[in-house]
């Protein structure tokens, strides 16, 4: 398959990039891992579900509009299509049981982000899930993650998740926010002028109030209770560093817990393609380094959305625009002058939205206390069942890098390929060695970017090798 531009990811950034590029005259192939375009932000009910309009939330309509615009004649969308690697000039995608080569003049990587995993006692119990996971089950399948839930974490993402759960008739016992409102004051300057975000937040909070959901500030979850699945939660007060304050524990009876502590970006494809990365101090994680026009260090590869930095959907839409224009320019569909002109507005809006996003990252980004449970028996690598204690043992044995920890303990060698444990392994390593997390490089990524069955990989029409002897 061949097109001027290949876009990986059909969330707000990917859709926006594809539409912009198509409207500039480029042919576009969009490769999306999920069953329908929309990514996380615009995910909607599975095809065949009829949802009463009063249960729908604000992003439903804009999502439908974008999906509609994606039906542009210049755009081909492949859903349930997993990009498993990029080699030289082509991207390899697993689709419908076959492995296909997709060639493009330019590549836009808009692979989004996933909830940051945070370990705490009981976090592996069935019924403990991420905020995004809770929202997904409620919004796409209209199945309640629990009858009575606790929502815990830090930052504004908890609000739309709470609303999605309420719309699905979940009872929320409490929303537990690690920061305290007075901490937000110093950032008011950056938040000034961002009225749409404020009115959004206000709407969410009103919904919570109406539903009688208490918000408990300055607390975090410290334990999930239950034998075979969640039966309760213990929360406790935290200090400014989110460290638990002793003797402040309180038990809440719930049957499911959703945790939301920000996001980690899906930068594996970009990284394995050789794009330079950058470490963000306040988000405490790695993103793809890019120019203002969203070009990466690899010629012909552009990025948009959460992979450039966590910033939300409005920012992702603008970045998609910019990346689409830059990619179209790169393949010669737009003259540089025209591309520059058209980029001006989205770039200005991007700058405006980034101010807000930065303030949020600074305010709600991870604080040291979040890692206080990483010791002894605490499970860090869920796939391979490696504990913090196992990691400590191999550090004591002389391991000094994430790779050697992985080699010794197998942490990061499971099916999730380190996505869940790598940030915590990094935090552990940084703490034990007394070094900056920024100095611990993002682990190198080799194909396949996600696991793919042999049968799919073998169904590759471009290969004509005979059986090796």
């Amino acid at each position: 398959m061949r097109a001027d531009i290949v876009v990986v990811g059909a969330g707000p950034a990917g859709m926006s990039a594809a539409i912009t590029a198509a409207e500039a005259g480029a042919s576009v192939i969009v490769l999306d891992e999920y069953a329908r375009p929309g990514g996380q932000y615009f995910k909607r009910a599975a095809q065949g579900l009829t949802v009463p309009p009063e249960r729908l939330t604000r992003e439903h309509t804009p999502g439908e509009v974008l999906r509609d615009r994606l039906r542009h004649p210049n755009i081909t969308v492949l859903s349930n299509a997993l990009v498993w690697g990029r080699f030289d000039d082509r991207v390899m995608v697993a689709h419908e049981g076959r492995s296909k080569s997709v060639y493009g003049g330019a590549l836009v990587i808009a692979t989004g982000a996933y909830d940051r995993p945070v370990a705490f006692p009981g976090w592996t119990l069935p019924g403990v899930m991420t905020a995004g996971g809770a929202q997904t089950l409620a919004k796409t399948q209209w199945v309640k993650p629990g009858q009575r839930m606790l929502l815990a974490g830090a930052g504004p993402f908890l609000l739309p998740v709470a609303l999605s759960l309420l719309r699905a008739d979940v009872t929320i016992a409490a929303l537990v926010e690690a920061t305290r409102p007075f901490e937000w004051l110093p950032h008011l300057g950056a938040l000034w002028g961002q009225w749409p975000r404020f009115s959004e937040a206000w709407e969410y909070k009103t919904n919570l109030r109406r539903a009688g959901v208490p918000t408990i500030y300055g607390h975090k979850i410290v334990r999930a209770l239950g034998d075979k699945q969640v039966e309760g939660a213990i929360i406790a007060r935290v200090d400014r560093d989110w460290r638990m304050m002793p003797r402040t524990e309180r038990t809440i009876e719930v049957d499911a817990i959703a945790i939301g502590y920000g996001f980690l970006a899906n930068i594996e494809l970009a990284s394995s393609s050789g794009c330079e990365l950058r470490f963000d101090e306040s988000a405490r994680t790695w993103f793809v380094n890019c120019t203002p026009a969203l070009a990466t260090s690899k010629s012909g590869i552009f990025v948009a959305g959460e992979v450039t930095g966590i910033g939300g959907s409005a920012l992702a839409l603008e970045e998609g625009c910019i990346a689409g224009l830059s990619a179209a320019e790169f393949v010669g569909k737009l003259a540089p002058r025209t591309a520059d002109e058209r980029r001006r507005q989205p770039m200005a809006r991007r700058a405006y939205l980034e101010r807000f996003a930065s303030a949020l990252n600074m305010l709600f980004g991870p604080r040291p206390g979040l890692w206080e449970f990483l010791k002894g028996d605490m499970m860090v690598c869920r796939c391979e069942e490696v504990t913090a204690g196992d990691v400590e043992t191999c550090l004591a044995g002389g391991a000094t890098t994430t790779k050697s920890i992985k080699d010794w303990t197998r942490a990061g060698m499971g099916l999730c390929e380190g996505r869940i444990c790598r940030s915590m392994i990094g935090e552990l390593l940084a703490r034990e060695r007394g070094i900056d997390l920024a100095t611990i490089p993002f682990p190198s990524v080799r194909p396949p970017i996600k696991p793919v069955p042999f049968s799919t990989l073998l169904h590759d029409d471009s290969q004509t090798e005979s059986v090796a002897s």
Binding site: R410, S455, D460
Partner: protein, 379 residues
């Protein structure tokens, strides 16, 4: 400035095995490694510890090589008892399959040669293969079966030797590059590293692909060819393979590891290829059809180290004192034996093992590149 009895350059299988045996013999050991332990070939190897492999092109069985393999296996067994995890030696036996009559005929010759050297191998047909390894398909028409063959996880071995050597006082300096050898006249007296100088009675060069450059600094030419190999690992699956088949095995964690391509002259180990992936998957799944539903998890690449005739280079180069070299293909199988031999040479100036076939001087100057990649069977 550090002083030691021995400075080992290279933190892979050979280097760490040598550190272990040397420390055990009471020597003061300093090991320097440019990056992380097992970051070179040792970290990407398949992990077979086999008595049944030798130089294919010759079709004869040099008995000293077989002896070396046997010694190494029994040293592994002892080390497993003394050190334990993460050495994780497992000895389920091995199957070396042949896919056509020509290879089978050569295999039969090899089997006879191995038997003559006292290696317990059997030359078996498909019916017998299936009894031992039900998951294998009939494209394997014949095989050499060695019931005592073993395998390890190479980095586990490296960490095990490291852990034990450290307990016996050896010092390990990672992220420390050996810049050049220090010599006075025809005697090597130490190494200049990025962490300062290390003065030592003996310097052991065990840094794989880095050896030629280091040795050249004291006028020693070490001919070494490099060939990339791509390897692959799957998700954890229920027990499927009992033995290890050349080259596909099930690890203690349940994953299937297999490989490897042979790409002479290709040195970029930061990437794997679609062609290599497809070729290896096709081979693996035709040999073990149950793999069709299994998910591939990761690929990686490493460099084979190939002295021109395929056999190891071990020992003291002529005309240079205080320097020992060890570089070889099949380092996984031979690491303990090599480590022990080098220690013997350091403590007693000689070794009971016959290493005369492995002296560097057997190569004429400029021997690099001569058919190295074809000499070793299969891998």
């Amino acid at each position: 400035m550090r002083t030691a009895d021995v400075c080992i350059v290279g933190g892979g299988l050979i280097g760490t095995a040598t550190a272990y045996y040397a420390a055990r013999a009471g020597l003061k050991v300093v090991l320097v490694e440019e990056r992380e332990l097992a970051s070179g070939t040792s970290g990407v190897a398949f992990g077979g510890v086999s008595l049944a492999i030798y130089s294919y092109a010759s079709a004869r069985v040099p008995s000293s090589y077989v002896e070396l393999s046997k010694t190494s296996l029994s040293l592994y067994e002892r080390a497993q008892q003394e050190i334990g995890s993460p050495l994780d030696l497992d000895a389920p036996g091995s199957i070396d399959p042949f896919y056509n009559e020509e290879d089978s005929a050569r295999g039969l010759e090899r089997a006879r040669g191995l038997q003559a050297c006292g290696v317990p191998v059997e030359f078996i047909d498909y019916k017998q293969i299936k009894e031992i390894e039900p998951a294998v398909a009939p494209i394997a028409i014949k095989a050499i079966y060695c019931p005592v063959d073993a395998h390890v996880t190479p980095m586990g071995v490296v960490w095990a030797f490291t852990k034990a050597a450290k307990q016996m006082g050896a010092e390990f300096l990672t992220y420390t590059k050996a810049k050049r050898l220090i010599s006075h006249g025809d005697r090597v007296t130490g190494v200049v590293t990025t962490a300062g100088e290390v003065a030592a009675d003996t310097v052991v060069c065990a840094s794989g692909s880095g050896i030629p450059a280091l040795a050249a600094g004291v006028g020693v030419e070490v001919p070494l060819d490099l060939a990339r190999g791509q390897m692959f690992v799957t998700e954890r699956i229920p027990p499927l393979l009992r033995t290890y088949v050349h080259n596909i095995k099930q690890t203690p964690s349940g994953t299937i590891v297999f490989g490897t391509t042979r790409e002479p002259g290709v040195k970029d180990t930061t990437v794997t290829s679609v062609e290599g992936t497809h070729k290896m998957l096709k081979w693996a799944s035709s040999l073990v059809p149950a793999l069709a539903k299994v998910k591939l998890l990761r690929s990686w690449a490493g460099l084979r180290l190939l002295p021109p005739d395929g056999y190891p280079i071990i020992g003291r180069p002529k005309g240079v004192d205080g320097l020992l070299l060890a570089v070889l293909h099949r380092g996984v199988t031979l690491a303990p034996a090599v480590g022990k031999i080098l220690t013997d040479l350091m403590t007693e100036g000689k070794t009971p093992h016959d290493i005369s076939p492995y002296r560097l001087e057997r190569f004429a100057p400029g021997a690099v590149g001569a058919e190295a990649q074809e000499t070793f069977y299969g891998t």
